[in-house]
Structures are given as C-alpha cells and as structure tokens.
C-alpha cells in the first residue's frame, strides 16, 4: 500500500490507532454519510457544516466549522482514495478535481479500518509536509505563547469528556 508508511514514519506524522467496539460497516457509515460525520467531526460547542462531500478520488471534501465565540475554521480539500469499508485518503493540499491549493494547514490523512476480534481497528495517519510549513504557522502568529496552548488544550479536553 502506497501510504502505509508506519515503518518509515516521519516525526511530523501522527498515527492514531483505536479499537472500536462496532463492526466495520458502522464505522464506514460514520465516515461516508456527511449527516453522520458532522456529528462527531469537531468538538462541541463547535459545529460542523459539510459544504462538499463527494466521496471519490478527486471529489471535494470541505468542512466548515463554527465556534461559539464567532470563530470559524474553513477546511477545503479532496479525497484521494476511497475503498469502501477499508480505506479513505484525503488531503488539504488539493481541492475538487485535484486542483492545487495553498491551505492554512497542509496535511494528508490516511484512514484505515480492519476487522479485529468483535470490533474494528481504526488507524488514522496524518502526515504534515515539512518544517517550513510549521515555521510559517509560527510566523503567522499561530503560537501566542503558553496561554493559547492551554486554552486550546482545554477546549480539546472538554470536547472529549
């Protein structure tokens, strides 16, 4: 598999693995029906609007999130690979029809699902391009010091409770 790069994982890659106590078909539903996806995509009280969801290679995958304080997060992208009940690859670096984009957050994500015991092994690998991108975020004032970090972590922790 081209993107199964857990062996030569880059320090900028994130690999999240979880055993879900549900069959693969249920997992697939949550990932292939935008009405379901929007229910878990972002942390409450933020809400997700799925602006485009054309689940095939080159099809648009565009989410738009709104926070309680008026904050928004616009995330256009496209699907690169879709294998029903097995694998979804998408990126923010290309838009619908593989049109090149310059996203605020550059990444490609590989999501896989496989039977394991009574449940499903879910693995998300999120790859980030390089240090330059990260440094640009820094220049953009992405890190407003310690407190920003804490506030964000707080929001992340709240959502998962």
């Amino acid at each position: 598999m081209p993107n199964d790069n857990r062996v030569n994982a880059d320090p900028l890659d994130l690999v999240i693995s979880r055993l879900v106590r549900a069959p693969r078909a249920s997992l697939w539903r949550a990932w292939s029906d935008p009405a379901l996806l929007r229910q878990w995509w972002c942390p409450k009280p933020w809400t997700t609007e799925v602006r485009a969801f054309d689940q095939r290679p080159g099809g648009a995958f565009h989410t738009f999130m709104r926070g309680p304080d008026g904050g928004t997060s616009d995330n256009p992208g496209c699907f690169l690979e879709v294998v029903a009940q097995q694998r979804i690859v998408f990126t923010s670096l290309l838009g619908a029809g593989w049109r090149p984009a310059t996203p605020w957050l550059a990444f490609s994500a590989v999501v896989t699902m496989a039977d394991e015991g009574d449940g499903t092994r879910y693995i998300a690998t999120v790859m980030h391009p390089d240090k330059a991108t990260r440094d640009r975020h820094e220049e953009m004032g992405f890190f407003d010091g310690w407190n920003t970090c804490i506030t964000q972590l707080e929001a992340f922790a709240r959502q998962s409770l």
């Binding site: 994130l14 879900v20 997992l27 999120v126 992340f156």
Partner: protein
C-alpha cells in the same frame, strides 16, 4: 524521537485535567507557594499535591523548597513551539478519533436494539 514523544504524551496527560490546567494558568502569572496555589481549590491537600506531582513529573512545572515553603513555577521550555504545534494536531486527531469511536459504538448499539425489537413486531 521515541523519548520525545513519550514526554509529549506525559505533558498532554498532565494538561488533560482541568485542575492541572487551572494550576498552570495560575502559575502563568508567576511562581507561587503551594499553600497559596491550593487555596482556591475545593479539594483535600493530598489530592492537590498529587496533581502537582503529575505536573512536575511531566516537566511542565518544577518546585523547590525553602524552609517550610514549597514554591512552584512553570517550566516554559517544556513545550517548544514545534512540539506545541504537533501536540495541537495530535490533540485534534485524538479527540476526533475518540468522538468518532463513541459515535460509532452508540450507532451500533442502536442498530442492535432495533434488530432485537423487530422480530417481536412481526
């Protein structure tokens, strides 16, 4: 890298608790004695000290004792901007995976109970 990411997950674990985040926020204003730090929290001192030790083990804070007074302070260098960036991305995806898993598990349970109900209706 393994060591670095182990430390990162310890930091993240340390900050996953609201009490500990409140402690970190308080220390953002400067070093503080344990007794002063503990005062606003409605919990027994031993529980509070446990939170402090988790923070200290992760390297987010450090403390030193002078006479009978133990003072805590932030160690701002624990998370470099690069690590912070990655920690944020990780937090986003970890919590998203967690929400997805819970959502799917609930979905599955609903499917099961619906399947159980149906034969009776026939």
């Amino acid at each position: 890298m393994a060591k670095q990411s182990a430390q990162l997950s310890e930091v993240f674990y340390a900050l996953a608790d609201p009490t500990r985040r409140a402690i970190v926020s308080a220390l953002g204003r400067g070093p503080e004695a344990v007794s002063v730090l503990a005062a606003p929290f409605a919990m027994a001192l031993p529980s509070f000290l446990k939170h402090l030790s988790v923070l200290e083990r992760s390297g987010v804070i450090r403390s030193h004792k002078l006479g009978r007074v133990r003072t805590c302070e932030l160690v701002p260098k624990t998370l470099t901007p690069a690590q912070r960036w990655l920690a944020e991305q990780r937090a986003t995806w970890e919590s998203r995976s967690e929400r997805m898993a819970r959502f799917v598990e609930t979905l599955h349970q609903e499917d099961l109970s619906r399947a159980k109900r149906q034969p009776r209706q026939r």
